[in-house]
Structure formats: C-alpha cells, structure tokens
C-alpha cells in the first residue's frame, strides 16, 4: 500500500506514531496508557485506519481475560490466603533462612504462573520483608529471588504473563498448549535457579535460634480473614481452571469468556446474603480492582500495531528478518529468542510482543501457517518473559520489588541488580535455547 497522507507515505506516519510510543515509554515521561491512547487516536485521525478497523483490531479476548483475572484475584486477596501460604511455608522449613529463601522463591514462581506477576510480588514481598526483619537477615537475596522467580514462573502458563495472553489469544494457543510446551522447561528453569540461589546465597545464610523460635510461634490461621469467601474463591478458581482446559478444548469457550464469567460468578457469590447497598458496594470495590490503565494501554497498542499492519510495514519487516536469517527456520527461531530477550530486558515487553505477533504471522508465507509456526511462538514467549529479568526495569514486577525495597530502607540500584540479574537471565535463556533446539528445531 503506497497511500499518501498530506503527501507523506502512510508507512512513515505509522512508523512515526509507533516510534513516539516507544520513545515516550523509554523516556518515562508519560503514563503508558495515555501515550497508547494518544497514539491510537492519531492513527485514526490521520486515516491510517478508520474506527471500525480500529475496533476490529482490539483483541477483546485478551482484555476480558485480563479484566476477569484482575477481579478474581482482587477479591481473593482479601481472604489473606496468600499470606497464609507464605507463613505456612516458612514454618514448614522450621524458619531456617536457607529453607526460607527456597520456599519463598518457589511460592512466588507458582503464584506468578497463575496470577499477574506484579500482583504476586505485591502480595509476597511484604511478607518477605517481615520475615527477613524478624530473622535479622539482609533482604537483598530474597528480593532478588522475588524478581527472578516471578518472571520465570510467569512464563509457564497462558495467564502467567501478559505476553503469553497476547500470543495465546492472537495465535489460538490454549492453556493446555502452554502447560504442555512451557511447563516442563519452566520447571527445569525453576530448579536450576533454586540451586543457583542456594549456592550463592542460601547456604551462607544464618540466624539465631531465638529469632527462629519467634517465627515458629506465628499462627498462620489468623491470617485467613473470611473463610466463606475463601471457599467461594476456590470454587470459582477451580471452575475457571476447568474452563481454561476442558471448557476450551471441548466446549470451545474462549479464555476471555471463562475469566469474565468467573469474575461475574465470584462477584455474585460475594454479594450473596447481603442487602442491595452492600452488594453494590462490593461490586463497586471488585471493579475497582481492575487496573484500567493496563487495559487501556493494551487497547491503544492493538490499534497502533494494526495501523502499522495496515500499511504493510510489518510484512515488510518479516521479509527482512527471514532474509537476514537466510529463510532458515532454526536461525529465525534463535533470532526471535535472543532479540526478544534483549528487547524485554530494557523496554516493556508488551508493545514489543504486540508488534512482533503480526510480523511472525506473516512469516507463515515462508515457513507454513498454523502449527508450523509454533516453535517461533515458544521462542518469543521464552525470550519476552525470561528477558524481563535482564535489568531492574525489564518488567513491572522488577520495578515493584525495587520500590518496596526502597520503602523498606534496603534500596536495590540499577547496577547492583544488573551485575547479578543479567548473568542469571543469560543462564535461563541458554537453557531455554537448548530446550528449543532439542524439542522444536531438530
């Protein structure tokens, strides 16, 4: 398409708009949702696409999945279940610092696989700060582990990390597809990281018996706040998981519908037995748990990426990439893994993944469409999610942990993190690379 807008080729305008989004995100001068909305408005005003096409470009399945999970988790966290699990785990290792580092890391990895990474660290880091203070331990290795394990765990499932939701929804990869393909490698990555953390930090940690005895007196049951709500939450969560797996495979219910239906059911159950004004208040609070800025960030990005796509620019980029990798499937997969790793380490991985999805889709002309492209998608998932560990600004969870560390008077600076985080990231990517080569590219 060589359309001209005010005498300028449409492609240049689309590129300038996308460039502006990246520049503003990197410069951290504006809220991400606002810039995404400004950019998508410009794309429509300049006529790169009309409103109808813009609405068509919005992946509502992704938005519904995000909104549904945000509501469910928002209600669930009121029950104190997450603190409960962390305290039980701490007691299960008899409050030994070495064991504590391992169980808190593991909990974060598992929670991150099923919850948003930022939500996970917001729930677990305060407990980490409490337990390390009680045991008079330096919180740094624990906080570093929180970052690394949240990003590693998040890679494992469809709902663990936004890039996965984006890819899964756009390409039609299911919850089970993610479990089967990403589950095993992420379990390996978690085990390797547990060993690494134990070797460098865990085995050197020590504390007094007195401090440990104090921690062993904690009563985790007291952390549980609302038993009725807890049971309702578990029922809904079970149904949602069943919906993601069985419902998706046999009834062909999309994940967005499942998550939103789950949120609706939990809100219904939560309000049960209360009068209308209390019901309204509860529903209002539940909707308040949705991070609307994240939702509008996605919404804007979908439109901006579609405007790039409409100008034929992304197909052009796909052509250039396959040219660069000599049309070799393995080389292309490795290029996607490593480029997305380095990209995600420095910029928010969401716009990058959103842009790369149509690029990889149009590589189907070279490599075959549908399932033939799956190895490339797994390369993108692993690069984009694990790459987030590369720097302190690589993922929102990292920024959140750093901000907690700051508030608690144990700041983690960019370089201190980079020196340790980057080698750990490279290690996880090398392992991912071996896995991809052995399983998909041989």
């Amino acid at each position: 398409m060589n359309e001209l807008i005010f005498g300028i080729p449409a492609q240049y305008i689309a590129l300038a708009i996308m460039g502006m989004v990246y520049a503003v995100i990197i410069a951290e001068k504006m809220n991400q949702a606002v810039i995404a909305l400004v950019a998508s408005s410009l794309a429509i005003i300049f006529g790169l696409l009309n409103q109808e096409q813009a609405i068509e470009a919005i992946d509502f399945n992704t938005l519904f999945l995000l909104i549904g999970m945000m509501v469910i988790v928002g209600i669930m966290k009121e029950t104190g279940i997450f603190q409960y699990v962390a305290i039980v785990a701490a007691k299960s290792v008899r409050a030994s610092p070495r064991g504590l580092l391992a169980v808190l890391s593991l909990i974060t990895a598992v929670f991150s696989a099923f919850l948003d990474n930022v939500t996970t660290v917001m729930l677990i880091v305060p407990i980490v700060i409490l337990l390390t203070e009680q045991l008079k331990l330096k919180p740094f290795p624990f906080l570093l582990a929180q970052i690394i394990f949240s990003n590693v765990g998040g890679s494992a499932t469809l709902i663990g990390d936004p890039p996965n939701i984006l890819i899964g929804s756009a390409v039609g990869l299911s919850f089970m597809d993610f479990m089967v393909n990403m589950g095993p490698i992420i379990i390996v990555e978690i085990m390797v990281m547990l060993v690494v953390f134990d070797f460098f930090w865990g085995r050197h940690l020590s504390t007094s018996m007195r401090a440990r005895a104090h921690l062993l007196r904690y009563e985790p049951n007291k952390a549980l706040k609302n038993h009725g709500l807890l049971i309702k939450s578990f029922i809904v969560l079970g149904l949602v998981m069943a919906g993601f797996t069985v419902g998706h495979n046999f009834l062909h219910i999309e994940t967005g519908t499942t998550a939103l239906a789950g949120a609706a059911l939990l809100m219904f159950l939560d309000g049960f037995g209360h009068n209308l004004s209390e019901k309204n208040k509860k529903a209002h609070e539940a909707f308040h748990e949705v991070e609307w800025d994240t939702i509008f960030f996605f919404l804007g990005l979908f439109v901006v990426v579609a405007s790039l796509e409409h100008t034929g620019l992304l197909a052009l980029a796909a052509g250039k990439i396959t040219e660069f990798t000599d049309g070799d499937f393995t080389k292309t997969g490795m290029a996607i893994l490593w480029v997305s790793t380095f990209f995600s380490a420095f910029v928010n991985n969401i716009p990058f993944v959103a842009t790369l999805i149509p690029v990889i889709e149009s590589m189907g002309d070279t490599f075959g469409h549908g399932e033939a492209l799956n190895p490339l998608w797994w390369s993108l998932v692993l690069g984009a999610c694990l790459g987030g560990n590369g720097t302190l600004i690589g993922a929102s969870a990292n920024v959140m942990v750093a901000s907690f560390a700051d508030r608690a008077g144990h700041p983690i600076n960019f370089m201190k993190y980079l020196i340790l985080g980057l080698p750990l990231t490279l290690l996880t990517i090398v392992i991912a690379n071996i896995y991809l080569l052995l399983v998909y590219f041989m």
Binding site: Q83, P126, L130, E133, P220, K222, A223, R407
Partner: protein
C-alpha cells in the same frame, strides 16, 4: 472568627536534632501527646508525638505503603516492639517525626470553621504558621477551639437576651 482567636501561642516545641528520648520526656513533662518540631530559624519542620513513636515500633513490613494490613498472625511480638523503644531512644527527632506537615498546617487567618474541619480530619493539635515563611506561631487544639466557641456562645446568648428584653 479566625484561627488566631483559638491559638495557643505555646513555647513548647522540639528541636530537630534533639533525641527521641529527650522529646518523649518533654511530652511527658507537659502532659501532651504531640509537639511541633521547630528549627533554629523558627520554622516548623515537622510534628513529633507518641503517634510517630508507635509507627516506629511496627515491623517495617507494616510501616511501608502497600505493606501488611494486619499482624494478627504474629504471636509474642511485644518484646520485639519493646526493644525497638530502646533502639529509637538515642536517634534524632528529625528522622522520626512526621514531615508531611504541609497538609495539616493552619495560618492565623484561617477561618474558625475550617479549623474545626481540619481538627476533625487530621486530629488535634494542629500547628499554626505564618503563611509562606512557615514561621511557627503556635498550635490550635480541640480544647482551645471549644473554649473559644463557648466564649462565642456566651456572647451570642447575651445578644439574644438583649433582643428579647427590647421586645
């Protein structure tokens, strides 16, 4: 009716580089819970009170923003909190006072009704400073405010009686 009518031009204040222990002693001696912290230039720089001390006794995880919202599950935490009193005693007031005073300061010209609103929202006492220079003038408390209102009521009643007798 403005703030200055209810003002207590108290001279009781704490210097930022006094120790927490000294400051607590001063509060106890004067039977008060909170006192303004004033620097050598006479400007208000913070408020120090039993409330600030209580905050310091909590585990860090409960002090920070978005931190733990309940500590129900911690059994036997009292000795730890008690030991923290010993720890903060020799520290300087400036590191343990509430510094975000811009939200709670009044000035002599603040209308009395706004003073009452501020007292109900932010607690008592509240510091009064000269607008702009932040120069410390005194405090208003719930008591001083009520005292002034009683005086006003007496005046109003006198006027009402006067009106009645004229009819």
């Amino acid at each position: 009716m403005s703030c200055k009518e209810a003002l207590i031009p108290t001279s009781i204040h704490i210097a930022p580089d006094q120790t927490v222990k000294e400051a607590l002693h001063l509060l106890e001696e004067n039977h008060i819970r909170t006192a303004p912290v004033v620097n050598s230039a006479g400007q208000l720089v913070g408020m120090f009170g039993l409330h600030s001390l209580m905050e310091d006794l909590l585990p860090m995880a409960a002090q920070i923003k978005d931190g733990l919202t309940d500590l129900d599950f911690i059994v036997g935490g009292a000795p730890g909190a008690a030991k923290k009193i010993r720890k903060v005693g020799p520290k300087l007031v400036k590191d343990h006072m509430a510094t975000d005073v811009s939200e709670i300061v009044l000035n002599p010209e603040t209308p009395l009704l706004e003073v009452i609103r501020m007292l109900t929202r932010h607690g008592s006492p509240l510091p009064v400073v000269e607008e702009g220079s932040m120069k410390y003038v005194g405090i208003v408390s719930e008591q001083s405010c009520l005292h002034r209102l009683h005086e006003i009521l007496a005046e109003v009643e006198k006027e009402e009686e006067l009106e009645k007798s004229q009819k």
